[in-house]
């Protein structure tokens, strides 16, 4: 389902894979309808920012530790990290242009 540009985050690789650069993480689950809706947006962003920022998804069902560390209580939620630090939180659905602008802001 996910294109090869979309990184898969897990409880295991999360710290390592978010510690440098600008990283967008989509917290999702199979049973979440709006998450399905956001998936194509995240895939498109992964393609657009290929080589400049990391864009990936974390399945909250399979990886409970990271969501609880960031007190995630609703999905979809997008978290944006810069060099391992949480920089932005977007709860719910968002438009691609708005997410792209946030990523650009932190790349600048």
């Amino acid at each position: 389902m996910a294109s090869d540009k979309v990184q898969t985050f897990t409880d295991g690789n999360f710290d390592q894979d978010t510690k440098s650069g600008v990283v967008l993480v989509d917290f999702w689950a199979e049973w979440c309808g709006p998450c399905r809706r956001l998936a194509p947006t995240v895939e498109a962003l992964a393609g657009e920012f290929d080589g400049r920022a990391t864009v990936g998804k974390l399945n909250v069902d399979e990886n409970p530790t990271v969501p609880s560390r960031f007190m995630i209580r609703g999905i979809p939620t997008l978290l944006l990290f810069k060099n391992g630090e949480l920089a932005e939180t977007l709860v719910g659905l968002a438009e691609k242009e708005d997410i792209a602008r946030l990523i650009e802001k932190h790349l600048a």
Binding site: A29, W31, C32, G33, P34, C35, R36, R37, V60, D61, P67, M71, I72, R73, G74, I75, T77, T89, V91, G92, L93, A94, E95, E97
Partner: protein, 320 residues
């Protein structure tokens, strides 16, 4: 995409059924969908009252099928944020946030309705941090935790029952001392040992905005005015819906609650503009009634575009 015969706004059951019928009538409909594409069924789990699926079907799966069916007959789907609609000039004009301008002879509005919030400030601030309007999305995060559900209708009770799969305890806060929900839902809810009721009350505040997570609520008794604190981890709001009609204010007749007024099928007060589904229906609000009115809107729009008499009886008289 500039000049269309029929544009449909919205991709829930009403919009997709309108698209299916318009596409099969060779009108090559353009369907514009927003962020909440698929509509309210995207927020549900099993749908057991959609005819034809004896074992039920998952809401998001049903919407995926409807979409594929509408596309099979040539519906073009465009994702976009509509910023402006001009219904005063013909053809009608639709403007998107990215600058795209679309004109159309006929317009079917199927923008649906969105979950209403408490509008007490703290509820929206804690959205995604313990306050939710989507039990199926967010119930998972409250395993073994106490939560509250606000509302007294079928949706509230359905959510409360669903959430007992996760939560240690569900407190239902309702403004009145009786429930609006159907008898069958009430019976099911009263029989659920995990659900408690607080009657005649509303949530005055959700705590704790400072901490950025839900730690409890302040409940106000509407009869006595008494306030009391309740510690819990989540609040699910199910107090009804608001029609998505802000784009049409001042251009179409809306009722006092903001619903589009339709007469004679799906007609609005502007000839050529039709409305279907929850955006014009605060009575039935079912997927199947929305789909039914979407079909009606497509047939009405087809007759309008082709300059045919709008009423079949009228047509029969004309022919005779």
């Amino acid at each position: 995409m500039a000049d269309q015969e029929v544009v449909i706004i919205g991709s829930g059951p009403a919009g997709l059924t309108a698209a299916l019928y318009a596409a099969r009538a060779n009108l090559k409909p353009l369907l514009i969908e927003g962020l909440d594409a698929g509509g309210q069924l995207m927020l549900t789990t099993m749908v057991d009252n959609w005819p034809g699926f004896r074992d039920g079907i998952m809401g998001p799966d049903l919407m995926a099928e409807m979409r594929a069916q509408a596309e099979r007959f040539g519906t073009e789907v465009l994702a976009g944020n509509i910023t402006k609609v001009d219904l005063a000039q013909r053809p009608f004009t639709i403007e998107l946030r990215d600058g795209t301008r679309i004109t159309t002879k006929a317009l079917v509005i199927a923008t649906g309705a969105s979950a209403r919030w408490l509008e007490i400030g703290s509820d929206r601030k804690l959205s995604g941090h313990g306050v939710s309007t989507c039990a199926t999305c967010d119930g998972y995060f409250f395993k073994g935790k106490p939560i509250a559900v606000v509302g007294g209708g079928d949706s509230a009770l359905e959510e409360a029952n669903y959430l007992t799969k996760f939560a240690s305890k569900v407190t239902l806060v309702h403004r009145r001392d009786t429930l609006r929900a159907s008898k069958i839902m009430q019976d099911k809810t009263f029989a659920n040992a995990k659900i408690e009721f607080i009657w005649d009350s509303e949530i005055a505040e959700v705590k704790d905005v400072e901490k950025g997570e839900v730690t409890g609520i302040v409940v106000r008794n509407l009869k006595t005015g008494d306030l009391r604190d309740l510690s819990l981890d989540g609040v699910f709001i199910a107090i009804g819906h608001t029609p998505n009609t802000s784009l049409f204010e001042g251009q179409l007749n809306l009722d006092s609650n903001g619903y589009i007024v339709t007469t004679d099928g799906t007609r609005t007060n502007v000839p050529g503009v039709f409305a279907a589904g929850d955006v014009q229906d605060h009575v039935y609000r079912q997927a199947v009634t929305a789909a039914g009115s979407g079909c009606m809107a497509a047939i009405d729009a087809e007759r309008y575009v082709e300059g045919l008499p709008q009423d079949l009886n009228e047509a029969a008289h004309t022919v005779a």
